[in-house]
Symmetry: C2
């Protein structure tokens, strides 16, 4: 007996057959004696259809009206899932975001959850109903519909799990869990039984997008145990929690990110405040900088290299050209044919030689390392884009086998 929150994305409820599949997963969980709250996104094609309809009429519609339009999507999916659960003979009720008590900030299109007023949710659960809740949406102080932005349904699910002190929050996806590498590319990638919130966050930012970061951050903050699992295969997935058995595995994953570009500032005057001036210009334009490398000064000049998201590359170069002129530097260069490969693992905090082992793997594969960055639970290297897949394979072989 417990309370379990289950979340299903748009592809999991894409058509009648998949809706019935979700209904069976939910009712099986209920039959085992659990209370169940189900959070669903809009059906994949519904979202696309609605966006298409809006564009045809007004591509510059206000975000308030876009949210009004888009939230109809989850309204459709929750009622259909409730009908499917009724068909299987179980008591159920669907609730819109506002009916489930989601109070959000006022920003349309990317509202944040302020609180959940759980009275109705609790009341329906007390009547032993399965409760189907519209993810991704809430109501702001003007009594208007809002959406939570990208990955919002994951966040909705974690927020409910936290507010109701659920025993577990299961996030159903199209993969069976979190893997040590992309299983489509690395055949011997291993599914993790457990992973920490921090490792999950590092993996997510590295492009292994299984869970939305906001939802993992929220789960960490409120200590909600997550499970990532498949809606198609009935198997245990990967548990995400605060502490896992670190002895089990040194690193929890290898990830690559090819959406990066390296920018080099050459021949900068070797003076205090130069780096600050450069990066404050980028920050003012909301350009995030990742790995930063500064050469040791020589002949009164120094070089700074850093990486940015590839699609911010040209804007960053333009800003840096202005900067170079103003400070008397020599040149700005950009290289878009690069990739970032990282290993993540809480285990490496307590194990020496992880970096050396990683570099050895790359050396063995004849891959040149162009930049290095490390944190407590992550080591990233920048390499040529064409070497990315080989690098992941070599590192994975070395650590996981």
């Amino acid at each position: 007996m417990g309370l379990i929150v289950q979340k299903f994305g748009g592809t999991s409820v894409a058509d009648a057959e998949r809706v019935m599949n979700v209904a069976r997963i939910v009712t099986d969980t209920y039959k085992q004696g659990n209370n169940v709250v189900v959070v669903v996104s809009a059906q994949g094609d519904t979202t696309d259809d609605l966006i298409e309809k809006a564009k045809e009429i007004n591509p510059n519609a206000s975000k308030r009206e876009m949210d009004m339009l888009m939230t109809a999507g989850e309204q459709i999916s929750i009622s259909l899932l409730a009908m499917a659960i009724q068909k299987l003979g179980f008591p159920v009720i669907s609730l819109l975001g506002w009916q489930a008590g989601f109070v959000t900030s006022s920003v349309y299109g990317s509202a944040r959850i302020r609180r959940i007023e759980t009275e109705r949710l609790q009341n329906e659960l007390d009547q032993n109903k399965i409760v189907v809740v519209a993810g991704f949406q809430g109501l702001n102080k003007y009594d208007d519909m809002t959406t939570l932005g990208r990955g919002g349904s994951d966040t909705s699910a974690v927020a409910i799990a936290s507010a109701l002190h659920a025993d577990k929050c299961q996030i159903f996806t199209d993969v069976e869990g979190v893997y040590t590498a992309d299983p489509r590319k690395i055949p011997n990638a291993v599914k993790l039984e457990e992973i920490t919130y921090d490792e999950m966050l590092e993996l997510a930012t590295l492009g292994a997008q299984v869970l939305n970061n906001r939802s993992v951050e929220m789960a960490k903050k409120y200590n909600v145990e997550l499970e990532v699992l498949s809606s198609l295969v009935r198997k245990p997935g990967t548990i995400v929690k605060e502490n896992v058995n670190m002895e089990k595995m040194l690193i929890s994953g290898v990830a690559k990110d090819t959406q990066v570009a390296r920018i080099s500032l050459v021949g900068l005057p070797d003076e205090p405040g130069i780096a600050f001036q450069a990066f404050s210009r980028l920050a003012a334009k909301n350009i995030n900088v990742d790995i930063i490398l500064q050469s040791i000064g020589r002949d009164g000049t120094k070089d700074i290299s850093f990486t940015v998201a590839k699609d911010s590359g040209d804007e960053a170069v333009a800003l840096m050209k202005d900067f170079i002129k103003s400070c008397g530097g020599k040149d700005v260069a950009i290289d878009k044919d690069v990739a970032k490969v990282s290993i993540v693992g809480a285990g490496m905090e307590t194990h020496a030689g992880v970096a050396a082992k990683m570099f050895e793997a790359l050396y063995g594969a004849h891959i040149n390392i162009r930049m290095i960055a490390t944190s407590e639970i992550k080591i990233s290297v920048l390499i040529n884009a064409e070497d990315a897949d080989a690098a992941v394979a070599a590192i994975h072989d070395k650590f996981i086998g």
Copy 2:
């Protein structure tokens, strides 16, 4: 300067082009210095799609979940219309039924409007916004979405016009107004400038379905001036109100109804209470009886004939066969090849000879009258179904020309 409520049905907002057309009608009204509240139904195809999705999953879904599903339809159309109005550069906000303050009874699928809490509506109008309201829907005391049932959007519009004391409630349709007969069949049918609520109600029940009866009844009760007009042609339509200039036209319309059947009870004992016994059996099964004719008693027996809706005919016959047995009557007969042709007009209350003129028209066309029924503003005759169109033409010629 005034406040005008405009209502557009599902076909008027069926696609992007039509939504833009409605936006132009609305903003033209606003530009003339009026406050405008627009009530819209769901797009025609949206409603069909949603019903199809539900049926595929569970044809016996609860009405509560069906209402949850269906109300997403108007949510889509109001936001799209608001986007179209934004595109034309006017201030606008869309409101769901509950946001516009619609409080309904609890019956899903056919809820009744209890009241409209107009605070938000008034507040948005005070900010000079065009307000687009989802028709057909409201919220019940459980904070759940409800729908108003057939023709619900007309009722929503009239209810808002009443609650806000609007100067006029315009119901846009695909016809240019109310005609003296079906203009597709009677080429010289005349569009009426004005018609009374009662005449409109009689015409509606006679099968000339332009406005939903509930909405006309509500308009009459709260004295809301209605206008029926076309969303495609920019012309004045037909005004529906309490008093019209009766001198203008003797009768306001000729209508036919072929969905009737005549049932005859032959050889009933000529005793008190016989008619009561017969009709109470029909009433118990919710079968409505229209025209009733009772013969003068003869040889201690009498005959009773009456009309019912054609699709209740067989059930009524079965009930009457039982009755005939129990009271010792002779026979029950049904005739489905009949039609009811009626003239409606407040003018006939003060003009003698209207019935005679109608019968003369039918006689001139060699049409046999099988039953006659009259009320203050209506005369109906039952004739053979094959004569129906000729009867309408002859009567129309005689009265309207």
